[in-house]
């Protein structure tokens, strides 16, 4: 079945709310649904389980925690990922740590979902891809789907998980089509995926960057460079084994992440590989990220900031040149 990512997400919500009546959804205008991902849920499940909230991210975030602690599975839709900052106290000081602080008495099946990343001239306050600050908390899974199938599969798993998950859908990819397996398709949370087999260099590509990496790999194939692409699928925790295995095979690594360098998981992946697969490394690890700035509005500026296939190609070429093929 081919579907747009946004519809895959919609299906996941439908199926999980159908499957478990303790799943509820809260968020601003989740009824009208700006993105289309929550469309139809209010009609189907009614205003008890699908709640349009006021613009009050602070209480929304904490309410999600409280409702979950009291027995529900809560999906808290925060719209644009920058608004997790507005809800950050609840996410950081409560959601990420009540499990530890109560010695496991409280488990929190909460999914914070939001759309992140640039590409649409939404400018500085609507274009962050803030997986690193959430990952920094240590107690929240960060799911970074790159395609329709994973968006559906990861979200379904996230809703069934007893710990908080930040589900970060790529703003620029909602309309993209992709194949989705039939039936109850789920994807485990810490399960990186080798999206393309190759021998010369590993590219780890997060979220929307998978397509960029694929384009770069196509171009590089024409030059005779064989690229392996790994999609981490959750950027926290990382599926270390899959990433390390790929680097052990190729000996070279480029990490492509739409987040700012200082807010990327490129650093985490670099650190992981440099600690645990150092002897396999034949070349420096090259991060390809957005510069350390808020995303600018004007299309040429925005385009220049966010990694594109040519940036990835250049990084790979640099590696090959520095080490020979």
């Amino acid at each position: 079945m081919r579907k747009r990512m946004i519809h895959a997400i919609n299906d996941a919500l439908f199926e999980e709310m159908e499957r478990d009546e303790r799943v509820i959804l809260i968020g601003e205008d989740v009824g009208a649904s700006i993105f289309g991902d929550t469309r139809g849920l209010l009609d189907r499940f009614g205003p008890d389980r699908v709640r349009d909230t006021p613009i009050s991210e602070a209480v929304m975030g904490g309410m999600a925690v409280g409702t979950a602690a009291a027995g529900y599975r809560v999906v808290c839709h925060l719209m644009y990922a920058n608004f997790i900052y507005t809800a950050f106290d609840a996410i950081a000081n409560q959601a990420s740590r009540l499990r530890l602080m109560t010695n496991g008495q409280i488990r929190l099946p909460v999914v914070f979902m939001a759309a992140g990343g640039g590409g649409r001239s939404n400018a500085g306050q609507h274009s962050d891809y803030p997986h690193a600050p959430v990952a920094s908390l240590g107690g929240i899974y960060v799911a970074t789907p790159s395609c329709s199938a994973d968006a559906k599969g990861l979200l379904k798993t996230a809703i069934r998980t007893d710990d908080p998950v930040f589900f970060l859908q790529p703003t620029s990819r909602g309309g993209e089509m992709g194949d989705i397996p039939e039936g109850d398709h789920t994807v485990p949370l810490v399960s990186a995926h080798v999206a393309r087999q190759g021998d010369d260099v590993t590219i780890v590509a997060v979220g929307a960057m998978l397509r960029i990496a694929t384009r770069a790999a196509d171009a590089l194939a024409e030059e005779g460079v064989s690229v392996e692409i790994v999609d981490p699928r959750t950027s926290y925790p990382l599926d270390e084994d899959v990433i390390l295995a790929s680097v052990r095979k190729t000996g070279r690594l480029v990490v492509v992440d739409e987040a700012r360098a200082a807010g990327s998981v490129a650093n985490h992946i670099s650190a992981l590989v440099c600690e645990k697969a150092f002897s396999a490394l034949r070349a420096p690890i090259i991060p390809v990220t957005t510069p350390d700035l808020a995303v600018a509005y004007s299309p040429p500026l925005e385009k220049a900031m966010i990694p594109g296939p040519e940036d990835v190609v250049a990084a790979v070429q640099r590696l090959i040149k520095e080490t020979g093929q």
Binding site: P54, S56, E57, L301
Partner: protein, 326 residues
């Protein structure tokens, strides 16, 4: 440009409302024509609020604004050309193309910027009001925000501090009945203006489509603020004639408001109401309005056209905003 002073005459105020209206109509058609790279939220129908409040301000007073910020920008003296260029993403834009529609700012005019975070301007204006108080030069900080934004907790925090410190802060809530696609009554309990009462901050609800009412309420608030009397919350009832965001029909499955409602509010158009009042009271000749409309329409058309093909910003400019770059 029309400059905004307390002494602004009626015709200047009418001109300002028309300037905002024409600018936004132009943006609406630009959007349809695919000329705008990002989203735009239009202010059409709400012009009396920005115009009336800013009439009493000068460049040294501070305002903060919202995602629906073109009206505030223009009313506070922002340059239409620089605004268009910004929204077109050009290097000649007031923010060099870095900000776009949701971030138009001109600090030299006291415009600390539109803001893409709903409620984001509240704390900034509170800070500006603190600066104004420290300056001791009778400036004020003004925050425009929506009914939807009234649900953000930061409003209560600001009211509390404004009351405690007697800050010269004017909170102007433009209640246009909707928070995106949610009618206010779904997301706002009770009357917004009353939320100031427990803090002891004076507040008032007014007809935001009546420029005279806006002028009166803001003059009272300004007098209070400039004379050490502290803050005020003004709730101005109004309506946005356009959608929440241009192009919303493309993604909304069902309408969220009735055509009759929109029509009814068109009948309350703040510009027409004010023009009619001026004519009725003999302050304006009856043919003058059409003439003004045409003049301002031309001025806006020229302003927009003159920057529509300006160059995009140089990519190297990005480096200017890195930490460490001076």
């Amino acid at each position: 440009m029309i400059s905004n002073t307390r002494a602004a005459g009626s015709l200047d105020l009418l001109r300002m409302m028309l300037t905002i209206r024409k600018a936004e109509e132009r943006l609406a058609s630009d959007f349809k024509a695919g000329m705008l790279p990002g989203p735009v939220h239009l202010y059409i129908g709400q012009e009396a609020v920005a115009t009336g409040v800013c009439a009493g301000l000068d460049d040294r007073d501070w305002i903060t604004s919202t995602h629906r910020g073109h009206g505030h920008f223009l009313a506070k003296g922002g340059d239409p050309k620089a605004m268009f260029a910004e929204i077109y993403g050009r290097s000649t834009g007031i923010c060099g193309g870095f900000g776009g529609s949701m971030h138009v700012a001109d600090v030299s005019k006291g415009i600390l910027g539109a803001n893409g975070i709903v409620g984001g301007g509240v704390a900034l204006a509170t800070g500006a009001a603190l600066a104004a108080q420290l300056d001791g030069e009778n400036r004020v900080g003004v925050c425009f925000f929506g009914d939807g934004a009234a649900a953000q907790g930061v409003l209560g925090e600001a009211l509390n501090i404004a009351a405690l410190w007697k800050l010269p802060l004017i909170l102007v809530c433009e209640n246009n009945g909707f928070s995106e696609f949610s009618p206010s009554s779904n997301v706002i309990a009770g009357d917004i203006y009353r939320r100031a009462e427990p803090y002891g901050v004076p507040s008032v609800r007014i007809d935001g489509n009546d420029l005279d009412a806006v002028l009166e309420a803001s003059e009272t608030a300004l007098d209070r603020a400039r004379n050490g009397g502290g803050g005020t919350l003004i709730e101005a009832l109004t309506y946005r004639i356009h959608g929440h965001v241009e192009g919303e029909q493309a993604f909304l499955k069902t309408p969220y408001r009735a055509d009759e409602e929109i029509e009814r509010w068109r009948g309350e158009d703040p510009i027409e109401r004010y023009a009619r009042r001026l004519v009725d009271q003999g302050e304006m000749a009856s043919g003058k309005f059409a003439e003004l409309e045409e003049d301002i329409g031309r001025m806006i058309r020229d302003a927009a056209d003159s920057v529509a093909d300006d160059p995009y910003p140089e990519i190297g400019n990005l480096e200017r905003h890195r930490l460490g770059a001076e």
